[in-house]
Amino acid sequence: MTKPWLLLTLVGADRPGIVAQVTRVLFGVGAELGETAMMRLGNQFAIMMMVRGAGTTDEVAGLLESTRADFGLKLHVDEIDAALHQHREPDVSVIVHSADRSGIVADVTAALLEAGMNILDLRSDVGGSADKPIYIMQIDGETTDGIEPIEQCVAQLADQGLTVRVTPLQTMRG
């Protein structure tokens, strides 16, 4: 029987060498890595990683204990019901920006959900300056009812002072 995928999440102050050290330890015990996402959020580095073949959740946590301690990371391991080769293709991109205020993500994602959009990828940032922050959000998703409901929903968001751009995406395959 195929070994289950585990989802590792690791977060800690960003320092060079975290990824290399974590993956070296896992490779050393014959682990297989699946899809991963890693990024700097704030001054922290966050890792989400599909891993299998390195033992149970407790065993993987044990394997990474010295790395966790060396880098001062927070580590979490869960068994997940995941599979590879399940990619989906976004057919719409939504980019939002405005002066920062509370509730932007909640407002935008609720409106997009209502308009039939399933989010596949979302990245948001706070830019500008500490006293005049701006919020920028990039979302890729798939629509259930086409682009028109998304465009209508965006018009309503614009009334709330958000600048929103919707771009239909068409994957070229050849």
Partner: protein, 165 residues
């Protein structure tokens, strides 16, 4: 004509990284191959183009068919491009691409927004086209195949956002 689709080579087959030879013989066998190649593309998941090396024929022939786009785009109809050469490029756009030879992966690629190309048709006659947008993207992707270049070789950041096309 055979009713079986031609087997499609998949990454990392070395032939997909190999530059193709020009077509010199314009004969019934070539026309039959072009039809067979089209039939093969039709069996895959919504392909809008295919190139001869993707089925192991290392010659400079590809198909471009923007009429098969999910959303209507400017197009010149279904095209067989033989010995194609891009003679002019203008503008840039980011778009998402996939490939029959690279299942289950799509990624962002920057391509010229408009191109001019010259090629030969199945009879060996010289043809020229001015393409833009999605059709230009297909042609650039397929002509890359003839030079042993895959869209993986041209991937840009997941967050790239020159005007998407």
């Amino acid at each position: 004509m055979s009713v079986e689709p031609l087997p499609i080579l998949t990454y990392p087959d070395e032939r997909l990284k190999t530059e193709c030879e020009p077509v010199e013989q314009f004969d019934p066998e070539l026309r039959e191959f072009a039809e067979h190649l089209q039939y093969t593309a039709d069996q895959g998941p919504s392909a809008v183009g295919i190139a001869a090396p993707q089925v192991g024929r290392m010659q400079r022939l590809c198909l471009v068919d923007a009429t098969r786009a999910k959303r209507p785009v400017d197009n010149h109809g279904p095209l067989v491009l033989i010995n194609p050469a891009i003679t002019n490029w203008k503008g840039f756009a980011v778009g998402r691409e996939g490939c029959l030879s690279i299942p289950d992966y799509t990624g962002k690629v920057i391509r010229a927004e408009t191109i001019e190309l010259t090629a030969q048709d199945v009879e060996g006659r010289t043809v020229t086209f001015k393409m833009k947008g999605f059709e230009a993207r297909i042609a650039q992707h397929e002509i890359d195949h003839l030079d042993g270049i895959l869209f993986l070789d041209r991937l840009v950041s997941r967050h790239a956002d020159l005007r998407e096309r």
